[in-house]
């Protein structure tokens, strides 16, 4: 499709642009994390910021996640708007206390006396043989805990609008970006993530899912990278005369259950695609949102295409076997209909 004045950006550039635009109008915004300044972020999402804003506002930190995330909580309570990077979501283990016991709870525990307006951005996802301490998604881990919003863009347009919305939000927002969508030269990138992105500042509503593709026969719900697998599967199903609707959750907390329910009420079938571990996670939550609400809309039992409950292995053949992909989604649909 050819759009006049099209301005395609990668997610990485879209994120950096959103931060820069907000920093120009809000002195309270500063960015802090490991290698986010001179290096520009391992995943490119802070590139160029140091040159424009200087080292006072774009701060490289020591490799001390608890200290700098905790410091961000303090600064946020004091009226600043920190944007903090946890380089890999897998690293949360060393600093989760600052995240779920402090960032997520101080608004509540202060009876609303203090707010914690900060953005914690972190990379997710695998597929490039980096093994299980650098490849997880952990969406469910963060979304499970009340007190923080959780967003996950699937394309650059949403990435920019969500980042702006997150920086303006008075609640803490965990911003999870998938490595395979970032547009890094050294890492394979899904081309569908690099889309037209307006230059002016705008927001994408946190808590609102999007219908990425309309359809009649089955609803495929996903987030981040999984949305592209779903769209790819939907295109293939179309060739077989099956009309699949794809829902991009965009935000995990708050979760837009209404959009999911409305779609499944229309199609009668539900497949959830999730690169996070299968059990106790996003896929189960999405299904429960439908079945608890009105099970009678379902023409078949829902299906999950999720990461099996195993630590993510290094060997390419093993990792690829575990990851969601369009073929698994198509197979899930076929099984659903055969049942």
């Amino acid at each position: 499709m050819n759009v006049p004045n099209e301005r395609k950006l990668t997610i990485a550039r879209a994120m950096a642009e959103a931060v820069a635009q907000e920093m120009r109008v809000d002195d309270g915004v500063f960015v802090m994390g490991e290698d986010i300044a001179a290096l520009g972020g391992v995943y490119g999402n802070t590139r160029g910021l140091l040159d424009e804003f200087g080292s006072e506002r774009i701060r490289d930190t020591p490799i001390s996640e608890t200290a700098f995330i905790g410091a961000a909580v303090g600064a946020a309570q004091d009226g600043m708007r920190p944007v903090v990077e946890l380089m890999f979501v897998d690293f949360f283990g060393v600093c989760f206390d600052a995240i779920y016991n402090l960032m997520a709870k101080n608004t509540y525990f202060s009876g609303g006396n203090f707010k914690v307006p900060m953005v914690l951005m972190t990379s997710t996802g695998g597929g490039y043989s980096d093994a299980g301490q650098h490849s997880q998604c952990l969406y469910g881990t963060f979304a499970h805990l009340p007190g923080m919003k959780v967003v996950c863009p699937s394309n650059a347009y949403d990435a920019k609008g969500l980042m702006t919305a997150a920086m303006r939000d008075d609640s803490p927002v965990v911003y999870m970006y998938h490595k395979s969508l970032q547009g890094m030269g050294w890492l394979a990138t899904e081309p569908g993530a690099t889309v037209h992105t307006p230059e002016e500042s705008y927001t994408v509503e946190i808590g609102k899912a999007k219908v990425a593709r309309e359809g009649r026969d089955v609803t495929i719900v996903s987030v981040g990278m999984g949305v592209h697998h779903a769209l790819n599967a939907a295109a293939q199903l179309e060739a077989d005369g099956v009309s699949a609707e794809v829902i991009d959750l965009v935000s995990l907390v708050p979760l837009d259950r209404d959009t999911i329910r409305a779609s499944v009420a229309k199609t009668g079938r539900l497949i959830v695609v999730d690169e996070d571990y299968m059990s106790y996670g996003v896929s189960g939550e999405v299904i429960a949102s439908v079945t608890e609400h009105d099970i009678s809309v379902l023409k078949a039992a829902p299906k999950r295409v999720a990461y099996p409950d195993v630590p993510i292995p290094y060997a390419r053949v093993m990792e690829q076997f575990c990851l969601p992909n369009p073929e698994k989604i198509i197979a899930a649909y076929q099984e659903m209909n055969a049942a």
């Binding site: 500063f30 006072e56 930190t61 020591p62 001390s64 608890t66 200290a67 700098f68 995330i69 905790g70 410091a71 961000a72 909580v73 303090g74 600064a75 946020a76 309570q77 004091d78 009226g79 600043m80 920190p82 206390d97 600052a98 016991n101 402090l102 709870k105 101080n106 608004t107 509540y108 525990f109 202060s110 009876g111 609303g112 006396n113 203090f114 707010k115 307006p117 009340p146 007190g147 919003k149 939000d169 008075d170 609640s171 808590g207 708050p254 979760l255 259950r257």
Partner: protein, 337 residues
């Protein structure tokens, strides 16, 4: 610590001494009352009393200026009272009532006051230390000349995040006074059983942070050290460490019978080093106040504390609708039933 000689107070006015006496006594009587209410089942959970440590916060508050910040752990009632928070609101939070500082949602360990620049009240050992650095960072960023008192205990001094924070605070010259309230027991573990080197004030040396040890049973010594530390921070020289040697008379929390130390040890400390008796003695021997004057103060404090207990008993239980507010800054959560 050796018994203190009764000495004439150096360069301190009667007014100041009376203020310290009153402020310390308020904390002590408040905590005694909290202990009673706990025994009556009106306060739940863990409740950590500050009795014995009063001179630490009262001395440091005397060194603070308007706008300076404070943040601490769960033994926090004394800090709140010393910085001027309302005893009614604190006590009502202890009883989990609507009139509490956090509307009953925080309890003993989680209270905050924007007005008094009190940033909590935190329940995890050492976790408030990085936040304190963040508060100081915000002040430095804004260039407002404020200083943050970041309190933690001798137990927390063995937490890794403290050293991450020391490094960062020194690297960025943050205006933060790290106050190590060394009450000599990490819950039930005596310092000598938990800590390889007892000189906690030297723990910043590896990061180039100056530190000193202070007699925490002497409010004037604490104040003097606090003034020195604050001056250092305010002049842009970065963080400073005060290790304040103190002693808690009660257990770690109300559920701790304190069998890890002898009654004699506690008794000796109470008799020879009590921080309130010390000021009382200075007031009387210096003829700054009469027994009658002090009795009047005792009575005044008793009334404030009694009123706070009445308030805390009579404030309504929180409405269950409040469960769903303040989780996020904006709307109630979608999980609301």
């Amino acid at each position: 610590m050796a018994a203190r000689k009764a000495a004439a107070a150096p360069n301190v006015s009667a007014e100041e001494l009376l203020t310290y006496y009153r402020d310390m006594l308020l904390i002590r009587r408040f905590e005694e009352k909290a202990g009673q209410l706990y025994g009556m089942g009106l306060i739940g959970g863990f409740c950590h009393l500050y009795i014995g440590q009063e001179a630490v916060v009262v001395g440091l508050e005397a060194a603070a200026e308007e706008g300076d910040k404070r943040i601490t752990s769960y033994r926090d009632h004394g800090h709140m009272l010393a910085c001027g928070m309302d005893p009614n609101g604190v006590m009502a939070e202890l009883t989990g009532r609507e009139g509490g500082y956090s509307k009953g949602k925080g309890g003993s360990m989680h209270m905050f006051s924007r007005e008094k620049h009190f940033y909590g009240g935190h329940g995890i050992v050492g976790a408030q230390v990085p936040l304190g650095a963040g508060l100081a960072f915000a002040d430095k960023y804004k260039g407002n000349g404020r200083v943050t008192f970041t309190y933690f205990g001798d137990g927390a001094a063995n937490q890794g995040q403290v050293y991450e924070t020391f490094n960062m605070a020194a690297l960025w010259d943050l205006p933060v006074v790290f106050v190590i309230e060394n009450n000599q027991y990490a819950m039930g573990t005596a310092q000598k059983r938990s800590t390889s080197t007892p000189e906690l004030y030297t723990r910043g040396a590896a990061f180039g942070i100056k530190g000193e040890i202070v007699d925490g049973m002497d409010v004037l010594a604490v104040k003097a050290a606090g003034e020195k530390a604050v001056k250092h921070c305010r002049s842009g020289k970065g963080p400073y460490i005060l290790e304040i040697k103190t002693y808690r008379y009660r257990g770690h929390s109300m559920s701790d019978p304190a069998k890890y130390r002898t009654r004699e040890e506690v008794q000796k400390m109470r008799e020879e080093r009590d921080p309130i008796d010390h000021v009382r003695e200075m007031l009387l021997t210096g003829k700054h106040a009469s027994e009658e004057d002090l009795k009047a103060i005792d009575k005044e404090i008793k009334k404030i504390v009694g009123d706070s207990a009445d308030f805390a008993r009579n404030s309504p239980e929180p409405a269950l609708e409040e469960l769903w507010t303040d989780i996020y800054a904006d709307a109630p959560t979608e999980g609301a039933v």
